[in-house]
């Protein structure tokens, strides 16, 4: 049964159909004027620009860091400096990118409630799920544009050091977006229930951290298996449920593997589309929760 679920080709086709249906529904139902307005509004936010500038500083700072290292120890010709630039930059993109995704997802709806713009919008013939969808899509455009910008800067930094077109970087950035999509969707769900941006921001950070730690639940499950204690067994069962339900953001660590592709690596042809589907499905769950909370909200 388990292996049937893991590798059945028909299930893959079914997933493909579901994902295409989700994309088509989003494209059809999204009020693009709201999405674009959210995007334009997001670009004006000083916090986001701040994060972007910081990320640029880190990306180009990484070059100085490795340059100093080279000056003092450059007796052996290696690719250590390029590897360090890649690691530092992808980490900077991950940290600042996720902060941008969290801050923007946490603030779009509460800000509109606070400055009362939402009342004007909802008085128009726009359904609540559409309004929320527009906002969500707008957030995603901001996240994607920021990510793209950081990716371009990263490519330039890398190109200066190693004049080869960093093709694998595109895949890494692409995967990073789907990691952000999950964090952004669940942060958005908390924001839909909130009237201020503080709580969703904290929740977003919490989601990102726990999302990266879910694999440690596996060791709880393993330890409970060898224990005879019923409490341990119960905890093990709970850990198993959480392990299998909560999104695991560590799966997206494939992005760092792609960046420093080794000759003995497996082809990534299957893994990347599977992660894309994974991101989209959890984002859908996040969005439905957001709508569930938002539809009965008194405004």
């Amino acid at each position: 049964m388990s292996i049937w679920l893991a590798s059945n080709p028909w299930l893959t086709v079914l997933y493909g159909v579901i994902v295409l249906a989700i994309i088509a529904a989003v494209a059809y139902y999204t009020p693009w004027s709201i999405a674009l307005f959210t995007f334009r509004e997001g670009l004006r936010k000083k916090t986001l620009i701040g994060f972007l500038i910081l990320s640029i500083l880190v990306i180009f700072g990484s070059m100085f860091m490795t340059a100093m290292m080279y000056d003092t120890g450059g007796t052996v010709a290696t690719d250590v400096d390029v590897k360090l630039i890649k690691d530092i930059c992808i980490t900077a993109i991950s940290i600042f990118g996720v902060l941008i995704a969290i801050f923007i997802s946490a603030s779009v709806v509460p800000t509109e409630i606070e400055n009362k713009v939402i009342y004007t919008v909802l008085s128009k013939p726009v359904r609540r799920f559409q309004y929320l969808l527009g906002k969500f899509v707008g957030v995603q455009i901001i996240v994607a544009v920021n990510l793209l910008l950081m990716g371009v800067l990263f490519s330039i930094a890398l190109y200066i050091k190693e004049p080869i077109f960093p093709r694998m970087l595109l895949y890494a950035i692409f995967l990073t977006y789907f990691e952000f999509l999950i964090v952004s969707a669940f942060t958005f769900a908390v924001a839909a229930a909130s009237t201020s941006a503080v709580l969703p921001t904290i929740a977003g950070l919490f989601i990102y951290i726990t999302g990266n730690l879910t694999q440690y639940l596996e060791s709880v499950v393993n330890r409970s298996e060898v224990s005879e204690n019923s409490v341990d067994k119960g905890l093990g069962w709970l850990a198993w449920v959480l392990r299998n339900t909560l999104p695991d953001l560590q799966y997206f660590s494939l992005k760092t593997q792609i960046l420093s592709l080794q000759i003995n690596d497996t082809p990534k042809d299957i893994q990347i589309p599977n992660l894309v589907v994974y991101g989209i499905l959890y984002a859908l769950a996040g969005y439905i929760i957001a709508f569930w909370v938002f539809r009965r909200k008194e405004l």
């Binding site: 679920l5 000759i263 497996t266 082809p267 994974y278 499905l281 959890y282």
Partner: protein
Amino acid sequence: MKRFPNLVLAVLVALALALGALQGYRVRNLREADAFYRWLVTASTQLRVFGTITPELEGEEAEKFMDRDLFDRVVAKADQALPDTPVMEGDTDDATGAPYPKLVRYTRTLSTGSLTETEESGTVAVAANPEQVKKDAEVWRFARSASLAPERADFVRFRRDKRLATAGTQIGVADIYKNQEAPVSIGQMFLGFRKLAAGLIWIQVDEAFHKGEMQRMVPLMRTTVLLDPNFVDAYLIGAWHLAYNLTVQMSDTPGYLKEYVPEFGAWVGNKERAYYAAVNFLKDGIRNNPRDYRLYFDLGYAVYAEKLNDHMNAVTYLSEATKQRHESWVRRMLYHSLQATGQFEEARAGWEDYLRANPGHAVAQRMIPTNTALTKERDAEALGTQAKKLLTQAGQARADGQEAQAADMERQAQELQKQRDALQAEARTIYTDLNATTADGDEFAQARLWRMQALELHEQGRTLEALALLRQARMEVARFFQEASDLIIQMCIEADLPLNVSERKRLLEIERIKEAWAANPVEIAGRRFDFDTSQDAWRQAGYANQETIALTPAAKDLAALRKDRPVIDQFIGLGDNVVFELDGQWYEFRRKSLLGNT
């Protein structure tokens, strides 16, 4: 939706989460298959290179490791599942002569395209072989197939329980806490930034190096590769630090104080311990990155050949380096090591290939005649030894009154001597030509000429002239120093001539080593070895002049035996002459070729 909106939404959320969870399961399965695929490549490579994938351990430790059991199960399934593939050159096990299992043949890196050097860099990376790419895709499909699900599950379980020796260092949360030396906080492991943490720790290694804090570097280096097992440069530079920088200020341990470590198959002092730490570090790198030629190259050339002067192992690893995608100079170092082990024909054939790919290559042009001359020199010395033996036998026959037989033997000996002289003359001509055609003279050819001349003089009884020549020669050609010194000592002893202070010191040291060896028998794998001072040889207990099979570093039999029974490395590391028994057969290993250290 309108009647039970909450219910519908709850069902939708549950459905989306369930689909996500199921997809998560699929992704997890793929990640496990990914790790499994890497292990298959590693285990197959190790089987090919080392001849075994299970460490030679005794008792409980041996039972703990499941590598062989699991690998055999996968191999059996691969024979059914993978499409047939022809057995190509290099696909046969030297030990048994049988082709490797299909899985091993599939995961083997295929020899690739051109070896031509580019003018700008002098090196060129050989492109990936398209056939290899196809085979890798096939193995990847096999690794994640449903038929292999039980083996994959076992792999995950064994790896978690650290029961796979071939899997290289694997990190777990507990490891960080257990490793008291590791200056890394658990926080650095979080949020998927392990590789960055590895990079930042590596910067500390660099800092420690420049501050001269060598001892601090070792735990930092280990932590780095623990966090990022694919950080190949960390393995390479780390091994370089261990083998070169850590040992640079250490003094040599006198031979008689060295301890025999069967695990290394060598007598070790402080420096050697660091060299073997580098060997182990690089081997761990190979387990994690089995297809990176740089790891094999550094292990073979930088450590085994350059530091340990162990060209036998150097050939093993450099050969493997040439089977991966590699740069052209890797082959050159392999041919040099082949020459050093006395495999002159193989070295010459390699240089000829190289010259065909790089017409006019200066080194290849020199090394082809050099190896031809060495082959002739070796054959000449063999003929000389044979002739001497015949003359001794003839003397005996004459004493026994068998005049006709003695005369026949003498005639045969003379014939052999003629052949020897002809070969020596040919070798001399080659060396003279080499010396004349190279602008500043060919150091190696000159040293060989001096050596031949000195031996001739010694044979004619003109030992003093021979000694004078050798003493001058060893000063002029640095790489000839050891060989010339050994010859000087040998000639002086034979002619009963006095030695100078440094030669006496050297002789004294050798005697002290022999005394220490004679006083301390060595136990290896349940066998006792004693040093026989009269024969200068290590003998396994129970040897009573039984018939032996002769083994030399250049012998193909030895390479095959070492693959089949890696424990042999622990025996032959004892000295230059070792007699041992294996499966009822006695072997005599002689390290020194007739030409000494070339």
